[in-house]
């Protein structure tokens, strides 16, 4: 379907090509695991990142200002 001018302008403004590719987090964690060989905890100010290996999985807990942002399980 043909886009109107405002639609085309909006589509260009929301160009998502500069976003991180899928799997970025996993490759980063693989690097972390390779370097540290196990658990990893990082804190900078109110931001805290904790990565815990469990068997072949990883649990990642991210907190900011002591409130949980996200807990991820990576297979």
């Amino acid at each position: 379907m043909k886009q109107s001018d405002p639609e085309r302008r909006m589509a260009e403004a929301l160009n998502r090509s500069d976003r991180l590719p899928e799997g970025f987090g996993k490759s980063l964690l693989n690097d972390v695991d390779r370097v540290l060989g196990g658990w990893f905890e990082y804190g900078a100010g109110d931001l805290n990142l904790k990565i815990t290996p469990s068997g072949r999985n990883y649990y990642i807990e991210i907190t900011l200002d002591a409130a949980r942002l996200k807990t991820l399980k990576l297979l």
């Binding site: 929301l14 949980r68 942002l69």
Partner: protein
């Protein structure tokens, strides 16, 4: 356990507080117990949107500091059955996100819906509101700057454990969409890869006044928005609006 939904926008002035208030009123009218929490602690006006500003005694900070019990701080109104408001006041900016998360969880135990009116932007206030929520509704207008900010907000939400229910596009003028001068809610939702929960028509009636006329398009749109969130029904589109012509008018 309640559904805890943060209403966010990115850009200020898109009608987020009005959407939160009206959605709460409609859900309350559907028989649900709804708790509205004003998390816009710097520029709080959810109490004003509900016309309850003269009833504020306790606020979110009083509950967190133990000066008031959670139920004690809620403001109810006979005009809005089932709806309770936890207001905030200026100067509550120092509230920790973890404390806000904890009191939200308390309210969630006794409600069907907890709606959190988040501040604009993606700063600390946003974090406080979203980290306490399980779901998020994004509100925007069809304007490019608002949509761009809403999209940035969507990106920021990627680091939270929340489900994005979808997008509400406020202040849509159907005539402008038909002429190709403005972008429709469906097109915006498509670009953002979100479900469109509904369009809300541009209206001269501000706030809860837009709900007062039983047959108003705004009221109809808000009912459909509540149904879209509550039971996954199709959201309202302003193009559905019936048009009336006066005889003899040229």
């Amino acid at each position: 356990m309640a559904r805890i939904i943060a209403v966010v926008s990115g850009k200020g002035g898109v009608g987020k507080t009005t959407v939160t208030a009206n959605l709460g009123i409609i859900l309350g009218g559907m028989g649900y117990k709804v708790t509205l929490i004003d998390a816009d602690v710097g520029l709080n006006n959810l109490d004003i949107a509900l016309g309850l500003e003269d009833r504020v005694v306790y606020d979110v900070f009083d509950v967190i500091s133990g000066r008031a019990l959670p139920e004690e701080a809620l403001i109810g109104s006979q005009d809005f059955p089932g709806v309770g408001l936890l207001p905030s006041v200026k100067g509550s900016e120092g509230i920790k996100a973890a404390a806000f998360q904890a009191i939200t969880a308390i309210y969630a135990k006794t409600a069907d819906y907890v709606l959190i009116d988040a501040p604009a932007g993606v700063e600390q206030g946003f974090h406080r509101a979203v980290s306490a929520a399980k779901e998020v509704v994004i509100v925007t207008t069809p304007h490019l700057s608002a949509v761009k900010d809403a999209d940035r907000t969507l990106e920021a939400l990627g680091v939270y454990d929340v489900d994005v229910c979808g997008l509400v596009v406020n202040r849509v003028i159907p005539e402008r969409v038909q002429k190709g001068e403005a972008v429709s809610g469906d097109a915006i939702a498509g670009l953002m890869r979100l479900k469109l929960l509904g369009e809300l028509p541009e209206s001269d009636e501000i706030g809860i006044n837009s709900l007062s006329a039983p047959r108003s398009e705004s009221r109809k749109a808000y009912i459909r928005l509540a149904e879209a969130i509550d039971s996954d029904k199709e959201g309202y589109r302003v193009s559905e609006r019936k048009r009336f012509f006066l005889f003899g008018r040229k």
